[in-house]
Symmetry: C2
Subunit: 452 residues, 2 copies
């Protein structure tokens, strides 16, 4: 039997990240100051981020070197394996060739350390003592806690309150790496206190947690802010996955007809898709790109492409993105991550340019796909990754119906070892689907800021 795993030699690990801004036919809309609503300057961001990251945020260079110190840490688990899903293909009876990149081998079990490590590194180089951030289910917070431990930085995590209580183990993981974890909304910030005063029972959202972390960073010269998705430099760092996958497919003498990725804030999607999309934009190779999101948080499929705040308290700049409105709170029935109200501006931009097919899936069919995947491929995916698994299976079944042997690539962005409760709830019939209705969307969008 042919091998199912395609490995890359350590010496072939990418030495630079890919910056899609260099290949865009038109630039994304300017980022605006929340007060003046005029384009911001790098200096406006300096209280929040070290200058090295701000430079990456606005860089037009196609290739941005990965510092050797970052590669040293990456090497602990990178290059990650690329798998050919031969057993799943057989079970589906599809002529498609299914490949998945597996990011669950990282210390925190997901793709998030790809950006947590360089963010911690650049902050350390800039003399920063502490990083403040938000986390939902905890994938990002645990990854930044890991990176902070490696570089000797304090890490302060505002964790969405409902997850803080429902997912104590992700919290335990963060605390083991030395992070301080605070349930959000908290009494520690003005943003948190204001929310609690108005809604004492508020169980939190990513938008609120971001407000708290940004407020702390903006008011303490020794603390900077770190974000796990959405921003250009975060997407940039994640391209290491797609670049590795490209080299691994080359080893397999293959190239994807379709790249599938789940998307919440957009960093996983950009990481696996942008290097291939870049080749398309440069006219080198064609490819279909499919973005999959939860029907209960459908920013790409039902949101508006408009200027909005990144957080609930409106402390962040205004960015043009697909958004459900910064007051969005996902339904309690939603089990996985992928629950941010907005979408990365760069992902929104290339979607608006017509380069991305978007789909929204219900969670039950995603869990069904994840269980099928685990049975045949052995790896239990994180609920977020199940969205990509579902879409990949659907694409493979389309190939079967059409008799076409296409190559499908997706990123299995994390394992589900911390998500067994969700799987058990699924098996016990306790999960249900929820579709965010057009009426709800309209209401949520009513509060969008007015920008000329």
């Amino acid at each position: 039997m042919d091998s199912v795993k395609i490995l890359l030699n350590e010496r072939d690990m990418p030495t630079a990240w890919y910056n899609i801004q260099a290949d865009l036919p038109k630039p994304p809309a300017a980022v605006l100051h929340p007060g003046t609503k005029r384009p911001i300057s790098p200096d406006d961001l300096a209280p929040l981020f070290p200058m090295a990251l701000i430079e990456q945020e606005v860089s037009q260079e196609r290739w941005i070197p990965i510092p050797e110190e970052v590669r040293d840490i990456y090497r602990q688990w990178r290059p990650t394996p690329l798998y050919r899903a031969r057993r799943l293909e057989k079970a589906l009876g599809t002529p498609a060739r299914i490949y998945y990149k597996y990011e669950g081998v990282s210390p925190s079990g997901s793709h998030k350390p790809n950006t947590a490590v360089p963010q911690a590194y650049y902050n350390k180089m800039a003399g920063v003592k502490r990083l403040a951030t938000e986390t939902g289910a905890g994938q990002w917070g645990s990854s930044l806690a890991f990176a902070g431990a490696i570089f000797g930085l304090e890490v302060l995590v505002y964790m969405v309150k409902v997850s803080y209580h429902q997912k104590p183990y992700r919290r335990g993981l963060m605390e083991n790496w030395g992070a301080r974890v605070v349930a959000s909304p908290s009494e520690e910030t003005n943003a948190g206190r204001a929310i609690i005063a108005e809604h004492p029972d508020c169980t939190g959202s990513l938008g609120i947690a971001i407000s708290e972390a940004v407020e702390v960073a903006a008011s303490d010269p020794n603390t900077k802010y770190a974000l796990g998705s959405v921003l250009n430099h975060v997407l940039l760092h994640q391209t290491v996955t797609g670049l590795e996958a490209e080299k691994q497919l080359e080893i397999a003498s293959d190239y994807p007809d379709v790249v599938v990725a789940c998307t919440g804030g957009g960093s996983n999607f950009a990481g696996i898709a942008f290097p291939f999309l870049g080749k398309k934009l440069r006219g080198e190779k064609d490819v279909r790109i499919v973005a999959v999101e939860p029907a209960s948080c459908p920013s790409l499929t039902k949101g508006k492409f408009a200027y909005d705040y990144g957080d609930t308290a409106h402390l962040t700049p205004l960015v043009k993105m697909h958004t459900l409105g910064s007051t969005f709170v996902p339904e309690g029935v939603h089990a996985g991550g992928l629950r941010y109200h907005g979408m990365a501006p760069l992902v929104s931009h290339v979607t608006d340019l017509g380069h991305v097919e978007t789909r929204a899936y219900h969670q039950l069919s995603c869990f069904e796909a994840g269980v099928l995947f685990a049975k045949h491929e052995g790896i239990l995916p994180a609920p977020e990754a199940n969205h990509a698994v579902r879409a990949t299976i659907d694409e493979a079944l389309r190939c079967k119906a059409e008799g076409r042997s296409e190559a499908i690539l997706f990123n299995l962005c994390g394992h589900g070892h911390f998500d067994l409760q969700a799987y058990m709830d699924y098996k016990a019939g306790k999960l249900r689907d929820h579709e965010y209705s057009s009426k709800e969307v309209a209401m949520a969008l009513a509060g969008l800021p007015v920008v000329e």
Copy 2:
């Protein structure tokens, strides 16, 4: 900085397991029939195991080929990485070179699939429909569930009742792979019913769960029994870890002065240590071998080297091993695995021959070592592996005190992603140490069977 990860090419993955029986200066004591107390024949084991595994159990061949079908599945995560713990070395200020093999990259997160996969394979080849087994914390049960899913075998797991209730997520993992999980003692077997009749509140033990699984296998021609440790063929399959480590150290131009391994039933210990011990037995290379066990389950350090049953209901053959008596139940304070009353006969035998240094550690110092390890190396170890981490740190500090630059190798046999509750209990001061006293040992051993 030199790389911290030493990879092995897939083509260099071992093609045969190493059988230490070929190199023993004297053979281990015969296995006895529980009724006649006479040496058993292969046919006596036929109701429980397929003949291919029985042949491995008694084989004197030094190298036993790994079937290509097993290597195909191994390749999903093997060869596993070998790490040089440079950051931990620096933190300790030790001149020692610390290496760790990392088995946490397997689908179930531990070394157990190394034997679960071949056991499922040989049973499948023999036409078996179902495997029955026991599990404590769930590392073994989840690994067999994974292997069963891959080969299309039903898997029935008797899970120690206290873990069944306290560790629902390992159970969820097993069920996701299609296994049926039953809390032990159960009402499904004579052994289980007898225990419940006598002790209605019994929270179970590995010995009891083994009795239930063996009883089911012995009474159903379509069901065989699978064991996750102790037996010769299980230890054999685990040698793939030590053999890979040996090749990886060769790449690093190094060889261990000391091999450290935690030991419960003995399979992790044998897997990493036997290939090196074999070289010592053959007079090729010297090495120190250190076995580490919990002070609350000290079979090697306080048990008696004597004939005993492998299970509580005395359905298994009698084997000569270091034992705390088959009625042993570990203290409730004990947080990790490594809680079997006996020790693999082959591990006991080489210990009795003077080739193994044995140590018992308290759990608090092991968790302390694990947290330190996670902080510097990034990987959170399973509580079992923390025993090896503790001993490795102690060896590294001895090297520092003596000014000696020795090479220390240990097996990081699993990640701690399913063990966050134990880590959180440790941090909260809820764990305490328990030493199994000499008086308790004497009482436990009073019931040992009389064998001429």
